[in-house]
């Protein structure tokens, strides 16, 4: 496809003809399956049609067929790069309708898992984004391999906590499923210290590299107004000068107990989004340390063990629970009819809203910038398509 188009450009391009080019669905920079139909004038993109849905499994219909005890571990399959936060949103929605109390220790463990997940997710983002921009960073895969190395350490922690490395089933309505194994807290502290030190190394490697700066600064600018109207979230929103972090705004779970800063950048470009995430790394690690230091004793779930999956009943009602995920507002709008399964569940995937920004910011950029912009948006297609 690309070769054929390249030939056509040389033969026919006379400075005014428009060329249609498919990017994806299996393009390496798509981070999943995503097809962008680009309209080009020379090397400049003048139009983009985003084609999504390749990973659609209709989670919202699926949730209507599964009980409150079954779905949380399926929720992790929406955003599989940050599975902890997806589970978190669902159980919080169910707990809000049922006014189910969650023990303090469980709330702390939830925060520890969610923040470690944020670090793991951001590591994967940084690695793949730098891999996408490849050659310009002098060696291509270097940062990617470093980031994956550190992410493995967090996955090791998750493995010893829940027995799984990618999709966890850690959260359940009323608490969490597992308590910390012996020695876990010490291992976690060592890992946190190591990652914090390595993040400083990446920063120096990247920000001392003029190619990196040229490819990210002033590229893919999202204005404050556009960011809000589209409902984009997380580092994209804060990179565009909007001071909005649900951990601060809602203070859900036990976030009010911890000190952390909310980074905000005003330039709205790829570099701003990068800076926001680099600060978030450190703030997430800071929260993990505080939670480990102050971890209270007590039960990890407010309800007894289940004898059947249909035993968790939620009274009639509705709620919207939102979590500050690695990519922004992960929301779950849940309607209960009093049975063991939800009547309706709407999943607000942060990546879906974030990806919708592409048609607004890509036109006018070169094809090579499309890759840099898409990577800076950090879409996870399991969450876009749900």
């Amino acid at each position: 496809m690309t070769t054929a188009n390249a030939g056509r450009v040389e033969l026919d391009y006379a400075g005014s003809e428009r060329l249609t080019m498919n990017m994806g669905p299996q393009h390496p920079s798509a981070h999943g399956v995503f097809r962008a139909i680009l309209t080009l004038e020379g090397e400049t993109v003048v139009g983009i049609d985003a084609v999504i849905g390749y990973l659609h499994r209709c989670h919202e219909k699926l949730a209507e067929t599964l009980t409150y005890a079954q779905y949380p571990s399926i929720a992790s399959k929406t955003d599989y790069v940050a599975a902890m936060t997806s589970e978190f949103a669902y159980v919080r929605a169910a707990e809000t309708i049922g006014t189910i109390e969650v023990p303090k220790r469980a709330e702390y463990l939830r925060v520890i898992a969610a923040e470690l997940q944020r670090v793991a997710s951001h590591l994967l983002w940084l690695g793949t984004w730098c891999l996408d921009m490849g050659g310009a960073l002098g060696g291509g895969a270097t940062i990617f391999l470093y980031c994956i190395r550190e992410r493995e350490l967090i996955l090791d922690l998750f493995e010893s906590l829940v027995g799984a490395r990618l999709l966890y089933g850690f959260y359940q309505v009323g608490g969490v499923r597992y308590d910390l194994p012996a020695g876990w807290a010490d291992q976690c502290r060592t890992t946190v210290d190591l990652i914090e030190q390595r993040i400083g190394e990446y920063e120096r490697m990247l920000e001392d590299n003029p190619f990196f700066m040229v490819r990210t600064q002033g590229v893919g600018v999202i204005s404050r107004e556009l960011a809000q109207e589209l409902g984009i979230g997380g580092p994209l929103l804060r990179g565009s000068g909007v001071h909005h972090d649900l951990r601060r705004a809602d203070g859900y779970s036990s976030y009010r107990d911890f000190e952390f800063a909310v980074p905000v950048e005003t330039s709205g470009d790829c570099f701003a989004r990068y800076r926001v995430r680099m600060v978030e790394f450190r703030q997430a690690l800071r929260i993990v340390r505080q939670a480990l230091d102050r971890l209270p004793d007590g039960p990890i779930s407010s309800r007894p063990g289940l004898k059947s999956v249909a035993q968790v009943r939620i009274p009639k009602g509705e709620a919207y629970a939102r979590i500050e995920g690695a990519r922004g507002e992960v929301g779950c709008y849940l309607i209960s009819d009093g049975s063991a399964k939800p009547y309706r569940m709407k999943w607000r995937g942060a990546s879906f809203s974030n990806l919708a920004v592409l048609p607004h910011i890509i036109p006018g950029h070169k094809v090579a910038d499309v890759v840099a912009i898409m990577g800076s948006v950090d879409p996870v297609f399991g969450e876009v398509d749900r």
């Binding site: 849905g53 919080r92 589209l230 709620a319 919207y320 709407k346 809203s353 919708a356």
Partner: protein, 160 residues
């Protein structure tokens, strides 16, 4: 503007709208429950304009729908004012057998993809949407899966 002030402003301007207080009482769980408003479908766009300009809810969180079987479809939209922390959940009932709703794309650019998804899943036609076509399912898909009348095990054509 707090949730209380927002409710008062809505009641004054739109007497036909019903404001649900129960959602607000869930603040006890430490999370700001959204102000829930149901408006007639005729004043859907006008109310959204009021929410965006007067209440300052410029952040478009999501748009979706609920199938209440015999009572018809309900469109649900959540918008936020991120500066004051106000969350507004606006709903409108389309009525039994009706699947047309005015589009909010003129007010919120985020409604573009959300309305396409809603059309895809519920078959709701959003009047005024510039490019209403399926987004997650293939163009040749038959039916709208999130309708309650659509069975989970509906057979679908073989994979192409």
């Amino acid at each position: 503007m707090t949730g209380e002030q927002a409710r008062a402003a809505i009641a004054e301007r739109y007497p036909a709208a019903t404001v649900d207080a129960s959602a607000l009482e869930r603040r006890s769980l430490g999370e700001g429950g959204p102000v829930t408003v149901t408006v007639p479908v005729d004043s859907w766009v006008e109310f959204a304009h009021f929410a965006k300009t007067t209440l300052g809810c410029r952040f478009f969180s999501f748009l979706s729908a609920v199938d209440w079987k015999d009572e018809g479809l309900e469109v649900v939209v959540k918008v936020d004012n991120v500066d004051t922390g106000l969350s507004l959940l606006m709903k409108t009932r389309l009525g039994p057998g009706v699947s047309a709703c005015p589009s909010l794309t003129m007010l919120y650019r985020g409604a573009d993809w959300m309305e396409r998804e809603c059309y895809d899943m519920f078959g709701i036609r959003f009047d005024g949407h510039p490019d209403l076509r399926r987004i997650l399912l293939g163009d040749d898909w038959v039916g709208h899966p999130l309708l309650k009348s659509y069975a989970v095990d509906t057979p679908h054509p073989p994979y192409r």
